[in-house]
Symmetry: C2
Subunit: 191 residues, 2 copies
């Protein structure tokens, strides 16, 4: 786990409608702010691509004493990519020390890219474990937080519970655990 103490940490979650990326963005922002005491802006920009089924959510997180002046992600520190189109569109927009997490269910790992690439078949492994893909977004959140440490796991869990439908709390907690596990396993392989 890397500790992030940047004044402005930019996260982009990109994929397709139906993957729950906006909910994931809201959960991450609420974990950071309501439960971790930081500041955040969470946003979605909808252009023509949204009518083609693309979906993109962004979160900017800053420490408690830093106000977020410009509320749009310019060059992400962390990019989650869950569709081929998203990879084509956003794969090259990343800080030099940034991290790309690729759902290899949908996206091939690029041969060349800026930053550190972490490729995990998130949706496929979610389906394997839970028999459905509905919580792949929550598994992805687990991966993101295990890798970046941008919010505490305790806050993340609280934020997930706050936002998911009643009756699905245990499923979603297990989804987070799967994400943590997959990220740890991957980091051990890389390091």
């Amino acid at each position: 786990m890397e500790s992030r103490q940047k004044n402005r940490y930019e996260i982009r979650l990109a994929g397709m409608g139906g993957q729950g990326l906006i909910l994931a963005g809201i959960i991450l922002a609420e974990a950071a702010t309501i439960f971790d005491g930081k500041n955040a802006v969470q946003s979605q920009s909808y252009g023509p691509e949204s009518r083609g089924g693309a979906s993109r959510a962004e979160v900017i997180i800053s420490p408690e004493d830093v106000e977020i002046d410009y509320p749009k992600v310019t060059t992400p520190d962390m990019l989650l990519v869950m569709s081929r189109e998203a990879m084509e569109r956003y794969g090259h927009e990343l800080k030099p020390d940034g991290i790309i997490i690729i759902d290899s269910t949908y996206v091939h790992k690029p041969e060349k890219a800026t930053g550190k690439i972490i490729s995990i078949p998130v949706t496929e492994l979610t389906k394997e474990k839970f028999g459905k893909t509905i919580v792949a977004n929550i598994v992805a959140l687990g991966i993101i937080v295990e890798i970046t440490g941008i919010v505490s796991k305790d806050s993340l869990e609280k934020a997930v519970i706050k936002r998911v439908p009643r009756g699905t709390e245990e499923l979603n907690k297990s989804a987070l655990e799967l994400g943590y596990f997959l990220a740890r396993e991957k980091m051990n392989t890389i390091n």
Copy 2:
């Protein structure tokens, strides 16, 4: 119904956590973009007030051929206020020709204010009609759209159906109808 053809129409939805304002913002943005073919940015900024239970969602809507450069609401064209704190904090931030919709369940109509004030006990009437307040946000969306015409009703309904839990479609459609009705009734009284 006023037709809005501005190059940039700014909407702020302000109240408390649990009132579903973020969902309302997302639905409005998706009605405008996915179903009405416009552009939109939807965002929530979380600061210290969010830890005190305040909630605020913003939507900027532009025509198809106008890109949204600055993604933050500066001075809203339309403000929905669903808590006393939100009224104190945001009640004075409005364009001169702007519209404030006040949920008078929680907020007293101010004696002096910029813009046009529409005061309706949204939450109270939702409770009266449906026996619960959970769809007060959807009733509010109906009111907003009847008054501003910022998205088509057909697109609004599609966007609501896309986002609400399965099995609650009819309840939410009725909530929209209640909103349209309340707004029409109010406009007839004012005009």
